[in-house]
Amino acid sequence: MYLFIRRFLYIALLVSVSTSCQTNPYRQGHELYKINCESCHMEDGSGLAKLIPSLKSSGLFRSTPECLICLIRHGLDKNQLTGQQMPANKRLNDVELANLVNYLRQEYASITIAVTTEEVNACLANCKDEE
């Protein structure tokens, strides 16, 4: 009986470890993605033909997080070739932006180094200067 329980617990532990490894730890980031991004970039990030870019093949997640944070906050101008536009996200605060960016970088570039809210704020101050 003791052996059985020990085996059971061992298996349960293995299962929970293997599943938690697969899922992205940034829960809020994932929720924010569903609310603000999924309608265009799709659940799996695949986008829509040439109209909306696939996030899977985007090099942006591998580059410095600054570009990504400014892009999400301010959006992109209307693309003259496709007529499509990436909207701004003025309502996301620094904590939400950090969680979203960390989620995206983990999901699409397997980068586990997290961005902090201080970094987000420093970055936001900079992209404002560019405007």
Partner: protein, 216 residues
């Protein structure tokens, strides 16, 4: 001894009968599959004839400024939706599913796709043309259509797709993401929710059933 054998043979025949029971159910199941797809919408009886709901054959303008009526395509069945290009909410998802349907029936020239814009102010013929190009589809098979706003809204209603002006909705329209299946005679034979990939997967078999029925 004699009674014993007759008992055994009874037993075997009972056994054989039992074996057939599942087949009875199976064939009943098949019959249900073979039943024709229903024609959706109200039916009227005029002078003893039953009149079924038909989607009107309006004159529409496509992405290349051609004037078209869907009756002009003859022997085809249609997959239709209502959308607009600057739509930030459900449209990209629905068009992604239309693209799935397009890919499945790409080489089947009995099937055509129709996307109607509900935003006459922004989606001019040029804008529709550019959109179709960037979607990377063959506009001989998948048309992007426009007409006077009132006509398109009435047409949507006839397709059982709800479209309303709603200033509180994103970009001022509230509409459903249904994809509608029309038969050769413009009867509505089925629909799915274009926002739900699983609903669309189930819809593939509805389209296949209609094809089998219409092209016997």
């Amino acid at each position: 001894m004699a009674s014993r054998t007759s008992f055994m043979s009874k037993l075997t025949s009972a056994f054989i009968l039992l074996c057939f029971i599942p087949f009875l159910f199976l064939s009943a199941g098949c019959k249900r599959e073979n039943k024709a797809l229903p024609i959706l919408g109200n039916q009227d009886v005029v002078n003893g004839d039953t009149i079924r709901h038909i989607v009107p054959d309006y004159l529409l303008t496509d992405q290349d400024s051609q004037q078209i009526r869907i009756s002009g395509y003859g022997n085809k069945i249609f997959l239709a939706d209502f959308f607009f290009i600057s739509c930030p909410s459900i449209c990209p998802k629905v068009q992604k599913q239309m693209l799935r349907l397009y890919d499945k029936y790409k080489d089947d020239n009995r099937v055509m796709l129709l996307s109607h814009t509900i935003d006459q102010r922004h989606d001019s013929v040029t804008v529709l043309h550019r959109y179709a190009q960037n979607l990377g589809i063959d506009t001989g098979k998948w048309k992007f259509l426009t007409a006077e706003k009132d006509s398109i809204f009435y047409l949507a209603d006839q397709y059982f797709v709800s479209v309303v002006d709603d200033p509180s909705a994103p970009k001022g329209f509230d509409h459903s993401g249904r994809i509608i299946l029309l038969d050769k005679n413009r009867h509505v034979r089925g629909f799915c929710e274009g926002t739900d990939p699983e609903s669309v997967t189930a819809f593939f078999s509805t389209v296949d059933r209609l094809l089998a029925e219409e092209y016997k």
